[in-house]
C-alpha cells in the first residue's frame, strides 16, 4: 500500500512543474500573438486614447513579467482574474461551462466504449470474416471524416430527416442534456472508437496467440471463460492506456463539435476568448483543460497498474 501512495504522491508532485510550465507557455504564447482586447471592446470606436484607458484598466500597460506575476499571484489564491469581454470573473465563466464539456467527453467516452469493445472483440474472434472486414473499412471511413462535417451529416439524418434528436443546444435538466448531447457525443465517439476498436482487435489477436490461452483451453476451461477471464482482461488493458492517452484528442474534438452543435461548453468559450484576446479566460480555460488531461493521464496509470499486476508502482 505504501508503494501505491508513494507512487501517487510522486505523480501529484510531478504535476506541479507541468502545470507551471503550461501557465508560462500559455501566457507568453498568447501575448506574442498580435491583436488587442481593447479593439474587441471598442469595436469601430477604437481610438488610441480609449484603448490606452482600457489597457490601464486591465493592467495591460504593465510589463509582461509583471502581468505574469500578478496572474500567478492570483492563481495561487484560487483566482483567474476578470474576463475582459464578459462582465464576470473568468473562474465563474469556466465553472458555468465546465459541466457541459465534461458531460460531453464522458458521454463520448461511454459511447465509444459501447461501440468499440464489442466491435473489437467480435472482429478479432471472426478475423477475416465479413464483420471483421466491415469493421476495418467502417473504422477507416469514420476516422477519415472530419468531425465538423460528420456532425452536420448526423444532424441532417437524425435531426432533420428522422427528427429523433435536436439540431443543436444543450437543453435543461440531466435527461434533456443526454438527449441534446447524443449526436455531438456520437460524432466524437465514432472518430474515437476507430482507435479503440483497432487497438482492441489487434490486442485480442495477439493475446489469443499466447501459450497460456492454449493451456487454459487444453485444461478443459470453457471457451467463454477463457475469453472473458484471460483474453479480454489482458486485451482490455491496452484499451485503457489508449483511452487515457487519447483523451487530449477528445478535448480537442469538443472545441469543434461544441461549435457545430452550439453547446455552451469550454471549447466554445475558448474559441471566443482566443478570438477576442480575452487573456484571463484563455489562460484559465487552457489551464483547466491541461490540468484535466494531466489528471486523466495520472488516473490511467493508476487504473493500468490496478488492472495489470505486472505493472509496478515504482
Amino acid at each position: 500500500m505504501t508503494g501505491r501512495f508513494g507512487f501517487l504522491g510522486r505523480r501529484v508532485l510531478q504535476l506541479i512543474p507541468v502545470v507551471v510550465g503550461i501557465t508560462i507557455l500559455v501566457f507568453f504564447l498568447l501575448h506574442l500573438v498580435p491583436g488587442d482586447p481593447a479593439r474587441q471592446i471598442l469595436g469601430q470606436h477604437y481610438t488610441p486614447k480609449a484603448a490606452a484607458e482600457i489597457h490601464h484598466k486591465l493592467g495591460l500597460d504593465q510589463p509582461l513579467w509583471t502581468q505574469y506575476r500578478i496572474f500567478m499571484d492570483r492563481l495561487v489564491h484560487g483566482e483567474l482574474g476578470d474576463s475582459v469581454y464578459y462582465n464576470q470573473s473568468a473562474g465563474s465563466l469556466i465553472a458555468e461551462r465546465l459541466p457541459a464539456t465534461l458531460l460531453l467527453i464522458a458521454y463520448a467516452g461511454v459511447l465509444a466504449a459501447l461501440v468499440s469493445i464489442p466491435m473489437g472483440i467480435i472482429a478479432a474472434l471472426r478475423r477475416g470474416g465479413i464483420f471483421d472486414q466491415a469493421t476495418r473499412i467502417g473504422t477507416l471511413i469514420t476516422f477519415a471524416m472530419p468531425p465538423f462535417w460528420f456532425g452536420i451529416i448526423l444532424i441532417l439524418f437524425f435531426a432533420l430527416k428522422l427528427q429523433l434528436f435536436p439540431v443543436s443546444g444543450y437543453g435543461h435538466g440531466f435527461s434533456d442534456h443526454l438527449w441534446h448531447l447524443f449526436l455531438p457525443a456520437l460524432t466524437i465517439a465514432l472518430a474515437f472508437s476507430t482507435i479503440l476498436t483497432r487497438t482492441l482487435r489487434a490486442s485480442m489477436l495477439s493475446t489469443m496467440r499466447m501459450d497460456f490461452v492454449d493451456t487454459a483451453r487444453i485444461k478443459g476451461i470453457s471457451r467463454t471463460t477463457v475469453l472473458m477471464r484471460h483474453v479480454v482482461r489482458n486485451a482490455i488493458v491496452s484499451i485503457v492506456v489508449v483511452f487515457g492517452i487519447n483523451l487530449a484528442f477528445l478535448v480537442g474534438s469538443t472545441v469543434i463539435v461544441e461549435s457545430v452543435f452550439s453547446i455552451p461548453g469550454l471549447g466554445q468559450l475558448l474559441v471566443a476568448a482566443v478570438e477576442s484576446r480575452d487573456y484571463p479566460v484563455v489562460q484559465g480555460t487552457t489551464l483547466v483543460l491541461a490540468f484535466f488531461v494531466v489528471l486523466v493521464n495520472l488516473l490511467t496509470d493508476v487504473v493500468h497498474a490496478a488492472l495489470d499486476p505486472r505493472v509496478s508502482y515504482e
Binding site: 500573438v33 471598442l42 480609449a50 482600457i54 469493445i117 443543436s168 435538466g173 447524443f182 471457451r223 455552451p264
Partner: protein, 533 residues
Amino acid sequence: MPDLPDTPTTSSRRARRARALALLLALAAGAIAAGCGGGGGSTGAGGGGAKADTLVIANAVNVDTLDPAANSVNESIWMTQNIYERLLQPNANGTDVVPQLAKSWDISDDGLTYTFHLGDHKFSDGTPVTAEDVRYSIERSIHYEGGWGFLLEAVKSVEAPDPKTVVITLSRPHAPLLADLAMYAYAVVPEKLLKAQGAKTFFQKPIGSGEWALTQWNKGSDLTFKVNPYWSGEKPNFSTLKIMIVPNDNSRVLLLQNKNADIIENPPGNLINELSANPDLQTYLFPSTRVDFIQLDQHFPPFKDPKVREALNYAIDRNAIVKLAYSGHATVGSSFMPYKMQYWNDSLKPYPYDPDKAKELLSQSSYPNGFKTFLIEVANDVAGNATAVVIKSDLAKIGIDVDIRTYELLTAYDKEDGGNSQMGQRYWTNDIIDPDEVTTFGVDPQGGANAFSSYWGDPTATKLVHQARGELDTTKRQQMYEQIQQIVYDQSPYLILDYSPYRYAAGKWVHGFHATPLGNYNLSLETLTVDQH
C-alpha cells in the same frame, strides 16, 4: 492460428449470442438517450389553435453583457433594447427619434437646456421609473470607462428636480443630443436595485422597464424573456421570447428548416436565394447603416496622390462586388454616410466602372506605371474575401499589383491601424441616427480614429463637422453634411464600395418581423404574430 479452438456443437449458438449482445450494446446508448429526451422536444410552440405563444430567434453571436453602458456587440445591444427603455428611441426607419420614457420634451431658445417629462413607466419588478433613475443611468454611462461618454462631452449636468422631470444642461449647443440619448448606452436602469446588488450581480439578471423581462440566461446557450407584467405599451401577441445562440451558420439554417427556430440571424449570403425558394420559409433583407469600404493609408505615398485615389475609384467594378460578395443583395455605394440615413446626400452617384478612365487618371498621377500594394482582409469573412478578389483583379488591369494578406479579425484591425497599412477592408455601422458619429470618426483627423485610419484631413470638412454639431437649424445642418459628403466623395480618402443589408430568414408562419437600420427589432416584437407550425 490465432482463432481459438471451438467445440462444433456450441459454436453457432455462441456466435449468435455474441452478435446479438454486440448489437444490443451499440444500440442501447442511442435508445436510452432518445427515450430520455422525450420531455425536451420542440423549442417552438406546439399544440392546437391559430397563434403560437413563443417566438424563437437564433442569433449568430453570443451575448457578452447586458450592461448597456458596456455594450458594443450588436447581438447584446439588441437584447438590452428588449429589456430597458431610454428617454427616446429611434423610429422604425431610423430617420428620427420618438418618445420612450419621455412623453415630451422642451428645448430652451439658446439650445442649452433640455427638459424631459417622463410618462408612467414601471420596471419589471413593479417599481416606478423615476427621474432619479434616469439621471443616475445617464451619468453612469457617461463616466463608464471605455464606454460611450465621448458622445455627451457637451453635457454639463443632468438633474432630476422632481420624479417626473429630467433637466439636461449643456456647455455648448449640441445638435445630436436627442439622437445620442436614444442610443442603447443611455438605457435606464433602477438605481437603488443596482446599487444594492452591485453591477456584477445586477447585470446577471437585470431588471428594466422594457417590453421584455429576462427570466433565464444560460450563458453561451440561450436567453428566455417573458412579457414585462408592468409594460405600459401594447401587450405583444406572444408571451415568451427565446433567443438561442448558434454560432455555426449551417446549424442555424438547419434549426429553421427543422422548425426549432422561427427566425434566424445572418443566414449565409450564398443561401439567401435557396432559402427564399423554400415554400415554408422567407428571407428578409433590411436596410442597415453598414457601409463597406477600403481604407487607403496615406502613409503609403501613392495614396497621398488624389489622382491615384480617383483612378482607384473608377477601376473598381462595384456591381461585380455586390454580385459576387452578396449575391446581388446589397446596394452600390456612393457617400461614406450610411445609405438613406439622416442628411444622406442623394445627389452623389456611385463611381462608374471605367478602366480606361482609371488608366488615364493613373497616367496623369505620380505613378503612371502603377505600383505594388497590399490589401488586408479578414479571414473567414466570405463577403470580404470575395470583395478582395474582385479588387485585386480590377486593379491588375490598370497596372496596380495587389497582394491580398489575410489575418484573423483582431490581428487584421491591428495591422490596419497605426499608420503602417496600405489598403484594408473596413466597414462602419451607426450607433445613433445622427451623422455626427460617422463624421467624427471618418472625417475629423482629431476625432480619435484618424479619419478611418486614412490619416487624411481636409480643413473645410473638419470645420464643417464641428459647425454641424453645434448647428440647431436642420436645413443648415443638411447643407453642411451634404457639403462634407461631397468633399469626401471628391477626395476619396477611402473607397466606398457598397451598403449591405441585415440578413434574416424566418418561417412563413412568422408575420411582421422588422429590424431597424440600427439593427434592433424590439419595435416589431410589439405587433409580430407567430402562427402554429
